[in-house]
């Protein structure tokens, strides 16, 4: 059987639904000597702000059973370097969907950065991060309240000519309410979820492991929660969803799509295995055969 892995996301043709998640794949070119990036359906670039940022002091990484915590704090070279250097450099070795991931500390900053990303010919889609748990102003505060999330959505939609996905935080009581607010404010799609706010303590030093004290928890441990949120939101909203959170195997990709995801982002798994995405793509056709799936997009939202 010839397997069709392609999906259509807001009119964009993706050769498959597998996309490295923002922050786990640099600006793409860092992995270009590791495998053929053109195998990927899309690449979500490192979260970018208006100005260059160093982020948080180290240690920024901690381990947990079946996962990890990070408190990088949006280290990035700034939006001008993204559109002038990073996106064009990736386009030279990658023909698929390039996703800019934009963060901010004010509505004006979100709008300015998204407008620049939208004007960048190499960028196909814009993912707006209203859910970074590792910065102390802005970031997640925009994504934990429906009115703020809607305000960001309206501000960026007013200046973008390309599809806008809002990346939501799972650190909320009712993610469906926030998803609906974004949809009503004009979002073209939703990415969910970002990391869960967590913590580890060094029991010998009696101090948090992370210099930032808390960090975002990701990895296979969060997969069932992320899947549940994707399922709830996909059934409550009519805009496409990119599923993200603990995806590590071809089976996880199929589960996310059955729950309602049109595309699937792979995050922490890239950090432990740089070949995670191509290995998932190697395994998908066989799993599709086993499940009698001819076209992968036929399973979207079937559960």
């Amino acid at each position: 059987m010839v397997n069709d892995l392609s999906v259509t996301l807001c009119g964009l043709h993706l050769r498959n639904p597998v996309i490295p998640a923002s922050g786990t794949f640099g600006f793409g070119v860092e992995l270009s000597d590791c495998f053929d990036l053109n195998r990927l359906g899309g690449i979500s670039l490192k979260g970018t702000t208006r100005e260059a940022r160093y982020g948080n002091p180290t240690p920024r990484i901690a381990e947990a059973p079946a996962g990890m915590l990070n408190a990088v704090g949006l280290e990035n070279p700034g939006i001008d370097v993204l559109v002038r250097e990073k996106a064009p450099a990736l386009r030279k070795c990658y023909g698929g969907c390039i996703i800019a991931n934009i963060s901010g500390f004010s509505l004006e900053e979100y709008a300015e950065c998204c407008a620049k990303a939208s004007d960048c010919p190499e960028i196909d889609l814009i993912e707006v991060n209203v859910s970074c748990p590792n910065v102390h102003a802005g970031g997640m505060t925009f994504g934990t309240d429906p009115h703020s999330a809607a305000a960001v959505t309206r501000a960026v939609k007013a200046v973008c000519r390309k599809p806008v996905f809002i990346k939501l935080s799972p650190n909320v009581t009712d993610i469906v309410a926030i998803a609906r607010a974004c949809e009503d404010a004009g979002a073209d799609g939703l990415t969910l979820v970002n990391t869960f706010l967590g913590m580890r303590i060094d029991i010998r030093r009696r101090q948090p492991v992370l210099a930032n004290k808390t960090g975002g928890f990701s990895g296979p441990a969060i997969f069932p929660i992320a899947l549940r949120m994707v399922w709830q939101v996909a059934h409550a909203c009519s805009i496409p969803v990119m599923g993200c959170g603990g995806v590590a195997t071809a089976r996880d990709v199929v589960e996310m799509m059955m729950a309602g995801a049109t595309a699937v982002e792979v995050g922490a798994e890239n950090l432990r295995n740089p070949l995670a995405c191509p290995e998932i793509l190697d395994a998908l056709p066989e799993l599709m055969d086993e499940l009698n799936i001819n076209r992968l997009q036929d399973i979207i939202g079937t559960v």
């Binding site: 860092e30 180290t58 990484i61 901690a62 280290e75």
Partner: protein, 245 residues
């Protein structure tokens, strides 16, 4: 960067809480001390970075200290077991930065990456002085390996149980080696004191908690005089003058 499956040839204790791991490997990517591998361990989500201590035909040697659950699990693996290893990581010491004579200063399990550097410097006809510091005699590693390469090796222990009593800085003051460039790897506080004390140029090999180990997660970024740098990709070796202590 490449992902390889290596078979364990030996995995034995060589000093207090310190183990020597020998892997069957034809890793052709290794060129300089300071480069490292990322080792995956069953039951642990993240890989562990270890600097390469020796590479000869068909094998690489890593020396590691058991400091937590991951390294304890590694010490339990027996010859014949296979390890999932990422190779070709990091930028190591630059032997060409030294014009004729070098000082190598190692502390504890910071000594291993200095061994391939020592070998390289000697092969290039440079004179090498080595000062190695440990907490006590029970923790000493690689002394005979360094002595096989150069006659000028000074050992120091904090408790005085072997060699000169005191820190590596005390040993350097005592033996007054002559050199035009230095290389150091060990605890951060030791390297800082070494850099403050020595007036020549030099290089330090940093350690940091890492995520990917290959420059794409920003988990180990530090601020330097050259701007933000990734310890795993731009380092772990940095020039003395670039470090913001």
């Amino acid at each position: 960067m490449e992902r390889q499956l290596y078979t364990i040839l030996r995995n034995e204790p060589v000093a207090a809480r310190t183990w020597r791991l020998e892997l069957a490997s034809d890793d052709p990517s290794f060129v300089a001390g300071g480069e490292f591998v990322q080792v995956a361990l069953d039951g642990f989500y993240l890989r562990r970075p270890f600097s390469i201590c020796e590479r000869s035909k068909g094998r690489i040697v890593l020396i590691y200290k058991v400091v937590g659950e991951g390294t304890a699990a590694l010490s339990g693996l027996r010859p014949g077991a296979r390890l999932d290893v990422l190779t070709g990581l990091g930028r190591g010491f630059d032997p060409d930065a030294c014009s004729s004579s070098a000082l190598l200063v190692g502390g504890g399990v910071g000594a291993p990456p200095l061994l391939p550097l020592c070998r390289e410097l000697v092969a290039r006809g440079k004179r090498v002085s080595v000062v190695l510091g440990f907490n006590s005699a029970s923790e000493i590693i690689l002394e005979s390996e360094f002595r096989a390469l150069t006659p000028d090796v000074t050992m120091a222990t904090v408790d005085g149980s072997a060699g000169l009593k005191g820190f590596v800085t005390d040993a350097i003051s005592a033996v007054k080696p002559t050199f035009d460039y230095f290389y150091t790897c060990g605890p951060l506080v030791m390297m800082r004191r070494v850099c403050d004390m020595l007036k020549t140029g030099g290089e330090v090999c940093l350690e940091e908690r890492m995520g990917c180990g290959a420059g794409y997660c920003a988990g180990c970024s530090i601020q330097t005089r050259q701007g933000v740098r990734r310890v795993c990709k731009d380092g772990p070796v940095f020039k003395k003058e670039d470090i913001l202590w």
